[in-house]
């Protein structure tokens, strides 16, 4: 189940190996994204989800979240 987190939790989780995914279009990602984030645009998320490691938490964010 998705859980809402804040900045501090984000940093803690990424330090523990969580995967960070930006779902904005590639242009937005190129312009600015959180350190270490990968880009899986929302429209391509289903197709790309298989690239994520199922054994580690996944943090997903879009514009509202940074």
């Amino acid at each position: 189940m998705p859980t809402e987190i804040g900045r501090d939790e984000l940093r803690t989780l990424t330090e523990q190996g969580a995967q960070l995914v930006e779902v904005l279009p590639a242009g937005d990602y190129d312009w600015a994204h959180l350190p270490g984030a990968v880009n899986h645009p929302l429209k391509e998320l289903d197709a790309r989800a298989g690239q994520l490691d199922r054994s580690r938490p996944v943090i997903v964010y879009c514009h509202d979240w940074y």
Binding site: G6, R7, Y29, D30, W31, A32, H33, L34, P35, G36, A37, W65, Y66
Partner: protein, 213 residues
């Protein structure tokens, strides 16, 4: 949550205000003697002195003229200006430079969303480099130029060392002076990503002390 407005790191090509913000600014508590704040200001070389509360939130700004006029051991709090305008570090630097040029201001206080101080942003600190001119002229280039597009509207800024004169005919420019570069903000609308820099070699011109506070 606003990651960028909190001055946290990011990756990408964006040029945010936080990247150009001077962090080593003179600060004071409101009960600091004005004379001490004035000493800090002079030691730092630029200002104003930013007055913070215990949480690091910007309460106001103390400028040289008010500090000098403050009597004897008067507190900074009696000399400061309340309610200074602030911007977030996540603002687009070029867009802010443009707005500052419109309003004729050279610096602005940068804070996080909670009002805590990050530093001072000087329009002239933005790297206004024309790649071709920079490559041709190196670090001692007389003029630098950069153009940015914001919401479909393009604008640029031409910067030259103090004393340089010039610009492109037919282009409205606005001149501001700071401690480093003299900047002329090109007013939109803008239709081209190219322009010719027509700047002459600078002559040594002393900066007005009133603008170096």
């Amino acid at each position: 949550m606003d990651w960028l407005a909190a001055d946290l790191p990011f990756e990408g090509t964006a040029r945010f205000v936080g990247m150009f913000t001077r962090r080593d600014v003179a600060t004071a508590g409101e009960h600091m003697p004005a004379s001490e704040a004035l000493r800090l200001l002079e030691a730092q070389g630029f200002g104003p002195v930013l007055v913070l509360n215990e949480a690091g939130v910007v309460m106001g700004a103390a400028y040289r003229d008010r500090l000098e006029a403050a009597a004897g051991q008067a507190d900074v709090g009696t000399a400061m200006r309340f309610g200074v305008s602030t911007v977030r570090p996540s603002e687009d630097a070029a867009a802010l430079v443009h707005r500052m040029g419109d309003r004729g201001i050279t610096r602005v206080v940068v804070t996080r969303s909670d009002g805590t101080l990050i530093g001072l942003f000087f329009a002239a600190d933005v790297n206004l480099c024309c790649p071709s001119a920079g490559a041709r002229r190196g670090h001692d280039a007389v003029a630098r130029f950069r153009i940015d597009f914001v919401e479909g509207r393009g604008f640029g800024q031409l910067a030259a060392r103090p004393g340089a004169v010039g610009g492109r005919a037919g282009m409205r420019t606005r001149s501001t002076v700071s401690a480093g570069w003299e900047s002329m903000v090109i007013v939109p609308p803008w239709r081209s990503t190219t322009m010719r820099c027509a700047m002459s070699r600078p002559r040594p011109v002393p900066l007005p002390t009133s603008l170096v506070v």
